[in-house]
């Protein structure tokens, strides 16, 4: 996602937010509410968890706003806090990885129309085990490297790579895209 705030606007809002201006905090919230929620919802299993992550992320952003030095994009900073909170919630909830059962009993069907494929992709993504889903989302959509994902998850780079491969293997199968490849 492109940064929702242009640089000059972000600088002014940040300065006001650091001075304790609540309306500036609200502007930051409004600018990043949807991308933060979307990231949280794609990683977390439930709407409630995603809402909690949304709240925790912005609370952390506002508490740490003095620590943001502007070395990277503001969205990049907010996003990393959101990803960290979402992954923390995954660990805390210790969801059961029901991947094998899901593969057997909840195979989404592939259709040819764009609308149908999109629905199927949503369903397939939703059915991935939490860890695989988090990795494929962070890597393919948010653009994190395996090194960054490993660091966020407290795992190795190989772990991140293998989870990405598992995710794509399942998505390919569930979307009916399997070929004769090994």
């Amino acid at each position: 996602m492109a940064d929702a705030l242009v640089l000059t606007e972000a600088d002014v809002i940040l300065a006001r937010a650091r001075a304790g201006d609540v309306s500036a905090l609200e502007q930051l919230y409004r600018a990043y509410e949807v991308p933060v929620y979307n990231l949280a919802r794609r990683i977390c299993r439930t709407v409630e968890d995603a809402e909690d992550v949304l709240q925790e992320t912005f609370f952390e952003v506002f508490r740490s706003i003095h620590q943001y030095r502007g070395s990277g994009s503001l969205w990049g900073w907010v996003r990393t806090i959101a990803a960290s909170k979402a992954l923390m919630r995954l660990r805390r909830n210790k969801y059961r990885d029901a991947d094998e059962l899901d593969e057997e009993f909840h195979q989404p069907t592939a259709t040819r129309s764009d609308g149908g494929l999109r629905m199927d992709l949503e369903a397939a993504l939703e059915r991935l085990p939490e860890t695989s889903r988090a990795v494929v989302w962070l890597h393919d959509v948010e653009g994190y490297t395996h090194e960054e994902i490993a660091s966020l998850m407290g795992k190795t780079v190989s772990f991140s790579k293998s989870q990405l491969a598992r995710a794509h293997t399942r998505l390919r199968r569930w979307l009916g895209e399997e070929t004769a490849l090994a």
């Binding site: 304790g20 609540v22 905090l25 609200e26 919230y29 409004r30 509410e33 949807v34 991308p35 929620y37 979307n38 919802r41 794609r42 709407v47 995603a50 809402e51 949304l54 709240q55 912005f58 609370f59 506002f62 508490r63 494929l117 999109r118 992709l121 949503e122 993504l125 494929v136 989302w137 393919d140 959509v141 395996h146 790579k161 293998s162 990405l164 491969a165 794509h168 293997t169 998505l171 390919r172 979307l175 895209e177 070929t179 004769a180 490849l181 090994a182």
Partner: protein, 199 residues
Amino acid sequence: MTHLALDQLLRLREPGQEPGLAEAREHLAACPVCQAEAARLDQRSARLRALPALRPARSQWPVVRQQVEADRSRRRIRWAALAGVAIAAGVALVVLLRHAGRRSDTAELAIDSVMARSSQLEQVIQSYNPDARVTDGATALVAGQLEDRIAQVDRQLELAQVAEGRRRDPQVLQLWQQRVGLLDALVDVHLTRASQIGF
């Protein structure tokens, strides 16, 4: 002919040169089946990126705002307590230096008594430790308002006590009494809440 596995295709998409991938790269360049699979992989990633953004059913801003304000309130009480202690210490020092050997008059006794009460109430609040507790929005709002007023009184006290010979000024005594009244109210707010939820 052995085609590339999915994890090899994924590794080929990564930047840099992983060892052992040169052969895989050569194979990909020459194999239409693997090229088609790599294209499908890219398309799948592109479709993931094109999924519509999910939006929260309702704004979480009121909750976030409440949390931020409660946090600020907790920070303010910490600063107010520190400022109160600093003011009391400053006043005590001035008293020692300027009034050493003098007989305390009624005004002195009155202000000493009010300052002691102020200190006691601060200790009660500190021992209750509002920082370590979850505070509901209504309590946080009332507590925040009281803390703001305490901070205002502290600023007036600072200004009043900077001026020489103002310790026995009735206005200073009045400010200290006002401070004690506000602290009393703050203790009530916290303790009422604590008794309601069984702390």
